[in-house]
């Protein structure tokens, strides 16, 4: 029934792409989060008292009970390492000159964790549960971006 392809190398193909890009704006709560990070160098979360849960970054609503939340719960700068990985390859699978440590850190006062780089790792091996601290760029270098945070560093 179907005609078999005898020369697969000659199969007709069209190359193309979907020619769009996106501009992601951070939303109502995200706006407050990034403004506070830029202007004050702090991490803002949102506290839901009825669920006894503090989100970070800040959120407009509690996904557990649907209450409206305020972006006013300052968390960190200390925290605990929830988990980590060390990446030896880049996006395309190429080896990295310098391995990158990525950590999931729960800032003090928060129930949620943030993913970011681990910096200033030193010689000691990383350990889940260890104390960490957010490293924020100097005032004049912050622009309102997740890169206003350099990463988290071990503090003991």
């Amino acid at each position: 029934m179907l005609e078999k392809l005898e020369r697969p190398d000659e199969v007709r193909r069209w190359k193309g792409r979907i020619p769009v890009s996106h501009r992601y704006t951070p939303g109502v709560a995200g706006d407050v989060f990034f403004t506070a990070l830029r202007d004050r160098g702090v991490l803002l979360g949102s506290r839901c008292d009825s669920c006894d849960y503090t989100y970070v970054p800040a959120r407009l609503f509690c996904e557990r009970c649907f209450a409206e939340l305020s972006a006013d719960a300052e968390v960190g700068p200390g925290g605990r390492l929830v988990s980590f990985t060390i990446s030896y390859t880049g996006l395309e699978g190429e080896p990295l000159e310098q391995p990158v440590a990525i950590g999931l850190v729960r800032p003090d006062g928060a129930d949620a964790a943030i993913v970011h780089r681990i910096v200033e790792t030193g010689d000691e091996p990383l350990e889940i549960g260890q104390r960490m601290e957010v490293v924020v760029k100097p005032d004049e270098e912050r622009t309102g971006s997740i890169h206003d945070i350099d990463g988290f560093r071990p503090t003991g």
Binding site: R12, W14, K15, R23, G27, V28, F34, T35, R64, C65
Partner: protein, 581 residues
């Protein structure tokens, strides 16, 4: 036996050009408003049905999962459905069968769309709905499809552009009192529409509902739950959905049979035997003004070609005999795609309860129909809704008239329970938003021509146009396929068809897909190929735009043989052909 199901709450955000809210935040605002409107909390919700159009709009893959927390799905059974523009109405259908089946008693149905993220224009996300091998090399623009369908509809029924434009006027006027509308305008005239920029003739700027951000949610409940939640549930009496072929150039562009099929399914379930008498209010899908007319006919509310006349006679006005799009529709309220469809369900809910405030249609409408349309303009999704007191099998409920108000009118709620969030961002705020990130999904594709089209392209390189014969239905299929989608059997043989045909429909397109103006207008056309039962999309040449007519005889103009590569572009264009040979 399916359980009886009702809508018991609804909420929506404002529809705006660009929302400050993220998609999640929009979804939450609408969902929260819907729950608040019937005094439920998230704990009362058993399951969540969500819809949102292509991931490429938000630029978020797995958008359903991304939006789920805003839709109240934390720790609950959750599913996202997607049938293009038909999605908003379909998510109500999905909520219906989740409840009708007994799987859940209370379901939150949520539709969200954030189209403003896409740069430079959301149309870019739509380009791959065209056949990547046979159509995209022609440089299509999404507007082509609508312009071609609109022109065909106008030509077959000999309609004037004014007949079409009056719908845009009606809907933008209807939306003037809508607290969530983006495009309400009480003083707009047909002249304004006719004077607006021509994008792809006959489509002009004001014939189209523009891209928007927004969200809508409705609460759907079983009969038992509904009676507990409200004394005025609005029943989902019938649902229907239907899909036509993706070979859109083979389709009847004049009558949306797929909408009629979906409508028959829904009417049958609702016991509606005479739609024009038993349906008192309609919310047909109106992303373009002609679509409302097209869809009213597809919904079997008017004979084919007769909806424009009804519009002229005022039948479709808010105070007419069959109010159509009293919400203001997509043309008036806005077009965040999936959300706009569910908005129609919400509008019927408010109208049938008597809660529509300034927009309330006079009389006591008992039953309404909402419809949406989408995918490759091929899906019809239909929901029939009715309030208590409608006999499900009654064949002749009188149409609502203002005479009946005194006797049976429902209490009118003056302040409809809308979410009034949906904060617009100005251009400058959008460009300057703190924390904003620009990113392109850097994915590249290679599309294979496949078996049938591969051979078709080989034929083009040899200067032949090949069709494929199906002896089951006797059709010669162009574009060819190895199976017949009607008979669902393998097709039988290759057939050389003529290099001539006729213009099924055409457009004069002045803009590229990103809406930038073209130096020279393009003349896309659907060409019916002689000797076949089909045809394909191509462009016209050697003809002045004003001289093109539907039905005009044309012939292929081939590229010189040495320049042919086995591409749809091996035919340079089609030109008018002297007839009588």
């Amino acid at each position: 036996m399916a359980r009886r199901v009702a809508v018991v709450g609804a909420g929506m955000t404002k529809f705006v050009r660009r929302a400050q809210e993220t998609g999640k935040e929009l979804a939450w605002e609408a969902s929260r408003a819907a729950l608040d409107s019937c005094e439920l909390t998230l704990d009362d919700v058993d399951a969540v049905c969500l819809t949102s159009a292509p991931d490429a709009f938000d630029g978020v893959h797995m958008k359903g999962e991304y939006l789920s927390d805003g839709a109240g799905a934390f720790g609950k059974p959750f599913i996202r459905t997607y049938v293009g523009g038909g999605s908003g109405v379909f998510t109500a259908i999905q909520a219906w069968y989740t409840v009708a089946s007994g799987m859940a008693d209370v379901v939150l149905a949520v539709a969200e769309e954030k189209m403003s993220s896409t740069q430079p224009h959301p149309q870019g996300a739509f380009l791959t709905i065209f056949d990547n091998v046979l159509e995209r090399p022609l440089g299509p623009n999404l507007l082509w499809i609508f312009a071609l369908e609109m022109n065909r509809y106008m030509s077959v029924y000999d309609l004037d552009k004014r007949d079409i434009a009056q719908i845009a006027v009606k809907n933008k006027r209807n939306a003037a009192g809508h607290p969530a509308a983006l495009l309400g305008q009480s003083d707009i005239t047909v002249e304004d529409v006719l004077g607006s920029e021509t994008l792809a003739w006959p489509v002009q700027r004001l014939d189209v509902s523009p891209i928007s951000d927004g969200a809508v949610a409705v609460v759907v409940a079983s009969e038992e739950a509904a009676r507990r939640i409200t004394d005025r549930p609005v029943w989902i009496d019938g649902v229907g959905w239907n899909l036509d072929t993706t070979y859109w150039t083979n389709r009847d562009l004049v009558f949306p049979e797929y909408v009629a099929n979906a409508a028959r399914m829904a009417y049958d379930m609702a016991g509606v035997t005479e739609p024009r008498k038993q349906i008192h209010i309609a919310e047909p899908y109106d992303p373009f003004d002609y679509k409302e007319l097209h869809h009213l006919e597809g919904l079997l509310l008017f004979e084919p070609g007769k909806a424009p006349e009804a519009a002229r006679d005022g039948v479709l006005n808010r105070d007419g005999d069959l109010p159509s799009c009293p919400s203001g529709g997509l043309l008036g309220v806005g077009n965040p795609i999936a959300a706009a469809g569910l908005m129609k369900i919400a509008e019927l809910y408010w109208q049938l309860r008597g809660d529509a405030g300034e927009r309330q249609v006079p009389g006591t409408p008992e039953r309404g129909v909402a419809q949406a349309w989408g995918d490759l303009m091929q899906v019809g999704t239909v929901v029939v809704m009715g309030r208590d007191g409608v006999s499900r099998s009654s064949g002749s409920s009188p149409p609502a008239t203002s005479d009946t108000v005194a006797a049976t009118s429902l209490p009118v709620v003056q302040t409809p329970p809308y979410a009034t969030a949906g904060h617009p961002l100005s251009d400058a705020q959008f460009r300057g938003a703190v924390g904003a990130v620009d990113h392109a999904v850097d994915a590249r594709y290679e599309w294979d021509a496949g078996v049938a089209v591969g051979r078709f392209l080989d034929g083009l390189a040899e200067g032949r146009i090949l069709g494929r014969e199906c002896r089951g239905c006797g059709r010669v299929l162009v574009p060819p396929r190895m199976f017949c989608e009607r008979c669902f059997r393998a097709t039988d043989s290759w057939v050389d068809v003529r290099h001539s045909g006729s213009v099924e429909t055409f457009s004069i397109c002045h803009v590229a897909w990103d809406m930038t103006p073209l130096d020279e207008p393009q003349l896309p056309a659907v060409i019916s190929i002689d000797g076949s039962d089909g045809g394909f999309l191509h462009v016209l040449g050697e003809v002045a735009p004003d001289d093109v007519r539907v039905g005009m005889a044309v012939e292929a103009v081939w590229k010189p043989e040495v320049e042919r590569t086995g591409s749809i572009l091996d035919i340079a264009y089609f030109r008018p052909r002297a007839t009588g040979d």
